[in-house]
Each structure stands twice: as C-alpha cells, then as structure tokens.
Amino acid sequence: MVNGLNLAFQFLDSFAFVVLAAAGLAIIFGIMGVINLAHGEFILVGAYATTVSATSLGLPLPLAMAAGVLVTALFGVVVERVIISGFVPNWIGQRTVGRDLVEPLYDRLADSMVATFGLSLIMVQGARIRFGNSIDQIATPFGNVAYGEFSYSTYRLVLAGVSVALLVVVYYVFTRTDFGTRVRATMADEQTARALGVDTDRTYMLTFGIGSGLAGLTGALFAPVLSMQPTLGSQFLVEAFVAVVVGGPSVVLGTALSGGVLGAVNATVTNLTDSTTFGRIALLLTAILALRFLPDGITGFVERVRTRREEGE
C-alpha cells in the first residue's frame, strides 16, 4: 500500500517533470521545424529571472514566476527575430548592402541545432560571468504532506497538477482558437497560408514566443526546487528530447503520452532499484527502443495505423 503510494507519487513527479521539460520544445519543434538546443537555457532564463525577482526585488513568489515567464517569452521573441527568422540581420542588410544576409532557420533541423547550440554555450557562459557559479535559491513553498513513514513535498504535487492544466490549456489554444487554427494552417502549408493573407512571419514569432514562455514557466516552477547554477538547463534537455522523440508529431497528445510512458518507466525503475541513475538509464533505453520500433513516435504510429485501416476499408 505504502509502496504503491510511493510509486504513484514518483509517477506524478516524473510525469510533471517530463511534460514541463518538453512542452516548449515540442511546440517550437512541431510547428516551426526548429530544434532548439538552447531550450535548457531558456528554462535557465525563467529560473534565474524568477529567483532574482523574488530575492533581489522582493516580489512575492507568484509575481516573481510571472516575471520569469514574461522575461523568457520576450527573450524568445528577440532570439526569433535575430537568429531564427533572420529578420533583424536582413533588415540591417537591406539598408546597408541592399540585400538579405541570412535565410530563416524554419524547417532546417540540422542548421537550427548548430545555431541554437552556439546560443546555449553563450547563454551558459553569460550567466556564469554575470551571476557567478550559483545564486541563492528560493525556499520551497507549502512544506510536506506525510503518510505513514513517508513524506512528500506538497509543492511537487502542485507541479503535477500544473502540468496537467498546462496540457489542457495548450490543447485548447491550438485546437479551439483562431490563433491555433492559424498556427496549424501555417504548420501544414506555410505558402498557402501566406497566399491567403495570413501573416505567417508574425505567427512564427508568436509561436516561438509562446514556446519560450513555456520554457520560462518550467524554469519558474522548478526554481524553488533546484540549485541555481548556470548549467541547470542541461538537466531538462535529456527528458525534453526523449519526450519529443517518443511523442512524435502530434504536439499535445505526443507530449502527454510520452509524459505518461516515460513517467511510468522512470518511476517503476527508480522504485525497484532504489536509484535515480537506473531510472534515467531506463528512460534513455526507452528512447532508443522507441526510435528503433516507432520512428515517428507514438502519435506517428497511431496515425499510420489509422491511415492503413482507412485504406483497408
């Protein structure tokens, strides 16, 4: 009984971690075809902005977290304009040498990885130069709930709730709003969307802003439970990428399903072996198996089965 409760808690904990780590990355990858290797450092921006707002500016925690999200979203928009879309360098180019200087990185997987990897190195070192090797952490709120000999952090249970709410909100925005329809049309066929009067450039900018804002939210939410070091983003990157690979092309459903699968794998193995290291190893093994047997991820597999069944009819 107690062991089952422990397992359930660990499942919720890893589910929340995987979903929150992956959401921003999955949106930017799924919609813009950009692999953001600086995703972990966007989380770093959110975590640092939250922590600094709370400790130096003395903002209450919820406001500090909102500030963390906002700062990261704005930072993302700047990165999109300067590096991803090339809008800023091309604007300068048009006014100096009379031509565009760069091509946008949309749908250029390898190129976007190289560019954002460079960005991540700059950001980690930049954070180290500006803030040193660590900054003071915010205390974890809410305390613990106890059950028998075990006690669990209430805050981590809250995170599980937030991750589910996040999936619902993202699903609603991308399937039930005008903005979501426009984003999906742009994702499906950018040229036709543009020829119908959709400002796809702005759609991409907003999408990247939202994806970055979600990374910022992850950073803000985990700020009270992680040690604040310039390299904290790297802890998220593995889970985020594994989740996107396992999830496949459908952004929300994929993230939710891989959060479930990876959460279950991680929780079970960690519980059985009593070691988080083995939990992580199991996670990576799952990713390798998924790549081998479901190269398009879970949702890609579901999509293939459905197409085959329709053709068979």
Binding site: T181, R184, A185, A188, T192, R194, A195, G197, V198, R202
Partner: protein, 233 residues
C-alpha cells in the same frame, strides 16, 4: 481600368522559368493563360500573388507597384489565390479552412459567407468535416470558397480542372462565370483543359517555354484549332 499589369517579368536567373512576360488584366475580365505542362503557368501565378519574386520586371496591382510586397500583404490588398491541387489544409475542418481565407491579420475584414454558401451549398452542409476528406471537386469548391470569403477583387486560379471529374469541371467553369458576373470579381486563370478555357475566358494568352507567345481574343477563342495548337504535344 487596368487591375493587374506585369511588365518584363523574368523569374529564375540561371534557367529562367518566366522570360520577359508582359500581361495585363482589366477590371471585371476573365483572362486565361493557356500552355502545356512546364511552360511556367504555376510560376506565373506564384509571381502574381508574391510567393515568388521576379528577378527582373514589375508587378503592378491597382496602379501600385507591389513587386517587393509579401504574399500576405498582396492577399490583404484584394488578391485571392486558389493554388494548383487546391492545397486544402490537412487536419482542419471545412469551416477552419474557410476561416483561413478571412484575412485574419488584416484587423477588420468584410466576409461574405452568404454568397459563398449560395454558390456552394455542399460546403455549408459539411462545415465540421475534415477538409481533406472531401472529393476532388468539393475540395476545389472549398479552395474557391476559401479565396472568396474575403471578397477579393482579383481571383487567381491555377488549373481548376486538374484532378476533378469531367462533369464537375463544367460545373466549376459555370460557377466561375457566375462569380464574375454576380460578384464582379476579376479572374486570371491558367489551364490546359481546352473546354475550360473556351467556356470561361473572355480572352487568353498563350505561353510556351516561359514566354507569352500569343494573345487570343474572343474570335480566336471561338476557333477550337487555334488554342489546341498551343496544347498539342
């Protein structure tokens, strides 16, 4: 009044797909461009809407040079585009596909769903259906409707007969004439189906290897052999 005017348009430096194209469309006309596969018809359409930039020459719409403008700006200025193969957005319902034609980024926009549903009642019955699951002819209607909801002044139509049953092809030609007469929409279309050209166009340009080689008025259009000439293999 001249609605659209292309002069000296060349696309593709190394291997030009369009060479020195001059073409103009007057208000309320239906103008066809006839030519075989690969003569540059789709490139011409993409250059007018702004998905391709000419290397030389200019595109003038309503007296304003729009050569440097992006496609979405031109669309919001009143040019509707119906791509070859329809390009219905997968995963979006009929209703959502139509919404994409509303010029959502224009701030305020006039839509005219009533006229569109009068023309294509089948679409109103299937608003919640996935647009991709419609038949070829219905997809063509959806693509036309999608371009019409924002009330364009100029409609660009890229091979409307492609992949559509012969009986529906005639229907679509009639619909386009009705749109032109009742809504006053100017139409520029490219096509290689002889019947569609003859039943739709007021006049017609003939293209060969990226160049406009002839201009055919109503008299020439009445003579089947003249156009067939430009479509012969």
């Amino acid at each position: 009044m001249t609605l659209l005017d292309l002069s000296g348009v060349t696309v593709g430096y190394d291997a030009p797909v369009l060479r020195d194209v001059d073409l103009s469309v007057e208000e309320s006309e239906i103008v066809g461009v006839v030519g075989k596969n690969g003569v540059g018809k789709t490139t011409l359409m993409k250059t007018v809407i702004g998905l391709l930039e000419p290397d030389e020459g200019s595109v003038v719409y309503r007296g304003a040079d729009v050569t440097g403008q992006s496609a979405d700006e031109r669309a919001r200025a009143g040019i509707g585009y119906i791509p070859q193969g329809r390009d219905i957005f997968p995963g979006l319902t009929v209703e959502q596909n139509l919404q994409m034609g509303e010029h959502v980024d224009a701030g305020s926009s006039e839509t005219r769903y009533d006229e569109v549903f009068d023309l294509f009642p089948v679409l109103e019955e299937r608003l919640d259906q996935d647009g991709e699951t419609l038949s070829g002819g219905q997809q063509q209607m959806l693509a036309i409707a999608r371009a019409l909801v924002a009330d364009p002044d100029l409609l660009l139509l890229d091979e409307p007969s492609e992949g559509v049953q012969p009986s529906i092809v005639d229907q679509i030609s009639e619909d386009m004439r009705a749109i032109n007469e009742e809504l006053g929409t100017t139409i520029l279309f490219v096509e290689q189906n002889l019947g569609v050209i003859r039943s739709m166009a007021d006049r017609c340009y003939a293209m060969e290897r990226g160049r406009i080689v002839d201009e055919l008025g109503a008299d020439a259009l009445a003579d089947e052999d003249t156009i067939a000439n430009y479509l012969a293999v």
